[in-house]
């Protein structure tokens, strides 16, 4: 594997949409340059209309760039070859309502070139892995939002891609589902996959991403690792047992004598989503119990019987 080729390389990307015959243009992406290295989890953030979806569509070859170059594992994104190793979960997943879950995943597996000999096993594995075995023979049109997300995941992963693009994967999903999704992303990362994720839910992005980029009005505002961007290097936090007022005052004086300032005294807080998860019974299935996210993503090289014991890197 050639590790020097980034998973996604975007250089000087600009995308204009012509909105009227008079030539008035809408610039959706403006001179964007960034790189996603292989094996990273990369968050693409921004408010509505910032150009995230447009950028993703260009990466997937669904739109053409007006100016600039976009490559996926070194292959220009407009070429069919660039999508060979890409799995895509669209925002508000759109699937064929008249197909059953099993038929849908099987269809996409065949489109992506999964060999016939491995087809049945692969589809069964991935449907089982997303926890939809019981509903696999029902039509997709009868699925709930959460089930649609899961089947969307299944179709994105069935051909064991190296790059997975998740567009707002937790939009409209409850906290348990969001937590499951986060765990999935981390598992994909442990398998050496590259994940590009867009989301409005910044708390989730914080938990899973290695690097993030923030777009606004099509422009790149900031890009870097989370630690670089949000870590406060000029501050330290010490978590201690509750102190009486006199001891706090003594501590303040001691710090002052050494030229330091006690800036704030606060009560540490757990996150609300952590409290929620601790109280909800379904959340007990996370992290080692049967259900979504508990096993390794089925790999095309690993037979079903040994999947739970293996966390090997996927093969193309």
């Amino acid at each position: 594997m050639n590790t020097s080729i980034p998973a996604i390389s975007i250089k000087g990307l600009t995308k204009d949409f012509a909105v009227t015959l008079r030539g008035v243009k809408l610039r959706a992406v403006d001179d964007l340059s960034l790189q996603v290295e292989e094996g990273q989890v990369f968050g693409l953030l921004g408010p509505n209309g910032s150009g995230k979806s447009t950028t993703i569509k260009i990466i997937l070859g669904l739109l053409g760039a007006t100016v600039g170059e976009v490559k996926v594992f070194g292959v220009p994104s407009h070429q069919v070859e660039s999508r060979r190793n890409v799995g895509y979960l669209p925002e508000a997943p759109y699937f064929y309502r008249y197909l059953s879950g099993y038929e849908l995943v099987r269809f996409y597996a065949r489109v992506c070139g999964v060999p016939k000999a491995q087809l049945k096993a692969r589809v069964n594995d991935v449907v089982d892995w997303v926890g939809l075995s019981q509903a696999a023979n029902r039509r997709v049109g009868t699925y709930s939002k959460g089930m649609l997300q899961r089947i969307g995941l299944a179709q994105a992963l069935v051909h064991d891609p190296k790059l997975i693009v998740l567009d707002e994967p937790t939009a409209g999903v409850d906290p348990v589902g969001s937590a499951e999704m986060c765990e999935l992303i981390l598992k994909l990362k442990r398998q050496g996959k590259t994940v590009l994720i867009t989301s409005h839910l910044l708390a989730q992005i914080e938990d899973v991403c290695d690097r993030v980029a923030i777009l606004d009005h099509g422009k790149l505002m900031v890009e870097g690792s989370l630690l670089e961007l949000v870590g406060q290097r000029d501050r330290q936090a010490l978590i201690v047992d509750p102190l009486p007022a006199t001891e706090i005052e003594a501590l303040r004086e001691w710090l002052t004598s050494r030229g330091h300032v006690l800036n704030a005294i606060e009560q540490p807080r757990a996150r609300l989503d952590q409290l929620f998860l601790s109280k909800i019974s379904r959340a007990g299935q996370l992290g080692g119990n049967p259900g979504v996210g508990s096993n390794v993503v089925p790999s095309s090289s690993v037979p079903k019987s040994s999947a739970s014991a293996s966390s090997s890197a996927p093969k193309a």
């Binding site: 949409f17 569509k57 997937l60 070859g61 669904l62 739109l63 053409g64 070194g74 292959v75 070429q79 069919v80 070859e81 999508r83 060979r84 890409v86 895509y88 669209p90 997943p93 759109y94 699937f95 064929y96 309502r97 008249y98 197909l99 269809f107 996409y108 065949r110 489109v111 992506c112 070139g113 179709q155």
Partner: protein, 280 residues
């Protein structure tokens, strides 16, 4: 790596075609065939009341082909538009085209799926018509043998061939609708324009035969151009001869079939060209 690392695949094309066919079946597009079948049987019964004699067979054949052409054209236009636009409007095209698939595979796959749907429709309609004619002709032969001195009047082989030619004509129509859909924004626009195209193709021969009679040079050029741009659907109008016992020239049928196949390929190719940069 070049784009040829993922070469054009007829397997993927067939996959999309079969998925499109499945969609048509599960959306119960064929249910109306039941009504049509009932209508055909009822009309055949209706003609008996008039005592047309052996000419009753001509009436059954004419109405059968009329129903085939009328409903077949409507089905072709609406099914092509619907089965293509459902991908765009439901945005399943987004998920599909994000896979390693050529846009040409997508367009031709959709076409083949619709063509199969229409093929089933034509086969069932022609099959039912032939069964009705065979049965009724047998009854008339028994009742009035003098009118059938030379044996059966209806040429069932010709009936079948004309049915195949109508299917091919619907294929050309479907390709035209697909071409319109490739740049159209709505299903409704595609359907309406498709019907306009159908009428123009049926009347194309008027432009073709009368362009030299037009006075204005500009108008004459436009009329002449129109006669080249649109295919001539009157060429497929061979069903009138069936009921009168005239034989179908195999060379003529071959030419018409080849004409249809070439047009399907060209128009399909133009649809791919038009769709290539469409932003989903």
């Amino acid at each position: 790596m070049s784009a040829l690392s993922v070469p054009f695949s007829f397997n993927r094309l067939a996959l999309i075609a079969s998925n499109t066919f499945l969609e048509a079946v599960r959306q119960k597009l064929f249910n109306f065939l039941l009504l049509l079948a009932v209508g055909l049987v009822a009309s055949a019964q209706f003609f008996r009341d008039f005592n047309f004699g052996s000419s009753e067979l001509k009436f059954i054949a004419d109405f059968g082909f009329g129903a085939l052409i009328f409903f077949g054209s409507a089905l072709t236009i609406t099914a092509t538009a619907q089965l293509f636009f459902s991908e765009i409007e439901n945005r399943t095209a987004l998920t599909l085209l994000a896979k390693p698939i050529w846009r040409a595979e997508f367009v031709f796959g959709k076409f083949l799926g619709v063509f199969s749907v229409i093929g089933v429709f034509c086969a069932l309609t022609i099959g039912l018509m032939m069964a009705l004619l065979w049965h009724r002709e047998g009854q008339l032969m028994a009742a009035n043998p003098e009118a059938f001195e030379a044996g059966r009047i209806m040429r069932y082989g010709d009936l079948f061939i004309v049915g195949v030619l109508q299917w091919l004509k619907f294929g050309v129509l479907s390709a035209i609708v697909l071409l319109i859909a490739s740049f159209s924004n709505t299903n409704l626009y595609t359907v309406v324009t498709g019907f306009f195209a159908l009428v123009i193709c049926h009347l194309q021969y008027l432009a073709r035969d009368s362009w030299s009679n037009v006075d204005s040079l500009v108008l004459r050029s436009v009329v002449r151009l129109l006669s080249f741009v649109f295919p001539n659907f009157q060429l497929f109008n061979l069903s009138d001869e069936i009921g009168q016992g005239a034989g179908l020239d195999p060379m003529l049928a071959g030419r018409v079939a080849l004409y249809a196949v070439v047009y399907i390929t060209v128009i399909g190719g133009l649809a791919v060209y038009s769709f290539r940069n469409r932003e989903i």
